[in-house]
């Protein structure tokens, strides 16, 4: 099985967001970056599929700044075979521009599976995986929480409102992974050492003109100061009164 996993370097989820002087982006000073948590499920799934098949290759591809090489090394330390960085100083706000650059790299690669996390926890764009599938004319299932593959066919389950959709698809295919699909492994020391010697290509990302202009990044509106209604069960009646009469939500 030859599997590509597209990954992204993102700020840690505990980051306190400070807006940069340009008023349009994150101030990255002091921010810790990690492998996008949803991409960990994609990397883990690729490794397990390769292990089950007994042979194959797992290639990780990231679009991002030079520092995203570290993110690729994290995936290599988990067990991926080689990596490619499509280098771009800024990841475009336009998901289709990112998808176009990734599709150009993936095209003709002969992959059985191309995996993505279901979304990145920074821009929440939630679109690059299925866009790549369309650009490469491959079948695609998004937000996969359970997966079975046999021969050239797969059955995936994806969460929808009030249930799970059971989806059948042929390989090769593009899948985006959700939490619950597997338990991502931690890189072992041996893996971390080995990762340093694994091949990592760096080339410029072929980003076209973006279709989206960032006008501004702003902090969310402050919530007005709340109040402690009281202590213990005795405060419940007053809470209900406030919810009815002041907040008018009951």
């Amino acid at each position: 099985m030859k599997i590509a996993v597209c990954i992204k370097r993102v700020p840690d989820s505990e980051t306190r967001v400070k807006i940069a002087a340009d008023g349009k982006s994150l101030d990255e000073a002091g921010v810790k970056f990690i492998l996008n948590p949803y991409d960990e499920f994609a990397v883990e799934e690729a490794l397990q599929r390769k292990e089950q098949a007994g042979s194959g290759e797992v290639v990780v591809i990231a679009l991002g700044p030079a520092a995203a090489q570290e993110t690729i090394r994290t995936a290599l330390a988990m067990g991926a075979d080689r990596g490619t960085l499509l280098q771009a100083d800024r990841i475009p706000a336009d998901g289709l521009a990112a998808a176009t650059a990734l599709a150009a790299e993936l095209k003709g690669g002969g992959y059985d599976l191309i995996l993505f996390g279901k979304m990145a926890i920074d821009d929440y764009n939630h679109q690059v995986g299925p866009m790549v599938a369309e650009l490469l004319d491959l079948p695609c299932v998004t937000t996969v929480a359970h997966l079975e593959i046999e021969g050239g066919k797969g059955v995936a389950e994806r969460e929808i409102e009030g249930g799970l959709e059971v989806v059948e698809f042929p390989l090769p295919a593009v899948l985006t992974t959700d939490k619950g699909l597997n338990e991502p492994r931690y890189p072992a020391l041996k893996g971390i050492m080995a990762a340093k010697k694994k091949p990592l290509d760096v080339k410029p990302a072929a980003l076209g003109a973006g279709r989206m202009e960032v006008v501004a990044m702003t902090p969310p509106p402050d919530r007005k100061e709340g109040k402690i209604v009281g202590e213990g069960g005795a405060a419940v009646a007053e809470l209900v009164r406030l919810l009815r009469e002041e907040a008018k939500v009951l």
Binding site: A93, G95, E134, V167, F169, M217, P220, G226, L243
Partner: protein
């Protein structure tokens, strides 16, 4: 007669309109008014859709149902093909989806086919100097991004629960036509339904969430009872800590690596309020926190707080809510 300007892509399940569709028409109407045009509402289904004739009330000038035997269930490739064709030939300035499980899957496919920009999960839409401008939360709501979408049509998906349906009656002329083609290579075989009537945390108007303070998985029963007291309007959510511990399914997780929710009422029970959790629920209209630690960060974003033992407070609250609905 104004020109068609906005295509609203609606959702049905089992031949009935999904409620989020009223929000999509409402958002589309807002855009169409700003652009000076009309709203065409589009449904893909195996046959007639219950509720389609009511869409004029919310601002649809026309309701078009395209039928195909393969379109009873969501057919990602078939739907994307038909919608992209319709969007390209209809001369629309914008196409509006719901940021639901289906919409978030479908909109990128349509965008890629059209070569157009897509903004997912937006909380505001408008028009500036002829261009569609949207606001969408990033970093799970720790910041808001304002984006201008170049090119036509501009694609947006609307975050559930944000675009409160408003009645702005239009003709709502109902049309129906059969369309050719197959579902595509990706086939939804069936839906494994959750418990009857279960609401999704992202769509429920009321969310009751629990965290570590519940102490053990079985204790979520007290939250389920509170949610049930809201007579079918509430869903039970969970913090990352309890999902990671395996107490609750990931589908229920609220926060940066779960769902970002905007219900009318969010009740946080035994949740201290980690930054990644606050990010996921701070756009709720009203937040109530129940926690034994008066210094818990959750009280900083809560409109109303009760300091106390949740096992004493929550059952009392359940009783009070039951009285209201009794």
């Amino acid at each position: 007669m104004s020109s068609p300007s906005v295509l609203a892509v609606l959702e049905q399940r089992d031949g009935a309109l999904r409620k989020v569709s009223h929000e999509v028409v409402t958002g589309a109407r807002r855009l169409a008014d700003a652009l000076g045009g009309s709203v065409d509402a589009l449904l893909l289904a195996a046959g007639g859709v219950k509720g389609a004739d009511q869409l004029g009330r919310f601002g649809a000038d026309k309701v078009i149902t395209l039928t195909n035997a393969a379109f009873g269930m969501y057919a990602p490739e078939g739907y994307a093909r038909v919608i992209a064709e319709r969007a390209a030939t209809g001369g629309y300035r914008a196409v509006v989806f719901a940021a639901s499980a289906t919409g978030k899957d479908l909109a990128p496919r349509v965008a890629a086919r059209l070569g157009c920009a897509l903004a997912q999960d937006v909380t505001d839409v408008g028009v500036e100097a002829g261009a569609v401008v949207v606001t969408r939360p990033v970093y799970a709501g720790k910041a808001l991004l304002t984006l201008k979408l170049a090119g036509t049509p501009a694609l947006v998906s609307l975050r559930p629960n944000v675009f409160t349906p408003v009645e702005r009656p239009r003709a709502g002329v109902v049309e129906s036509a059969a369309v050719d083609g197959s579902a595509g290579r990706v086939v939804v075989q069936r839906i494994r339904a959750a418990d009857a009537g279960a609401l999704d945390v992202a769509e429920a108007p009321i969310v009751v969430s629990g965290g570590r303070g519940l102490k053990e998985p079985a204790n979520f029963k007290v939250l389920e009872e509170l949610a049930a007291a809201f007579a079918g309007r509430a869903a039970v959510g969970a913090s990352r800590a309890v999902v990671d511990a395996g107490w609750r399914p990931h589908a229920d997780q609220v926060g940066q690596t779960g769902k970002t929710v905007s219900p009318t009422l969010y009740v946080a029970v035994g949740i201290s309020g980690a930054i990644q959790h606050l990010a996921g629920m701070r756009t709720s209209k009203v937040i109530v926190a129940i926690n034994k630690d008066k210094d818990a960060p959750i009280f900083k974003v809560a409109d109303y707080g009760i300091v106390g033992d949740l096992f004493e407070v929550v059952p009392k609250l359940t009783e009070e809510i039951k009285k209201l609905h009794g």
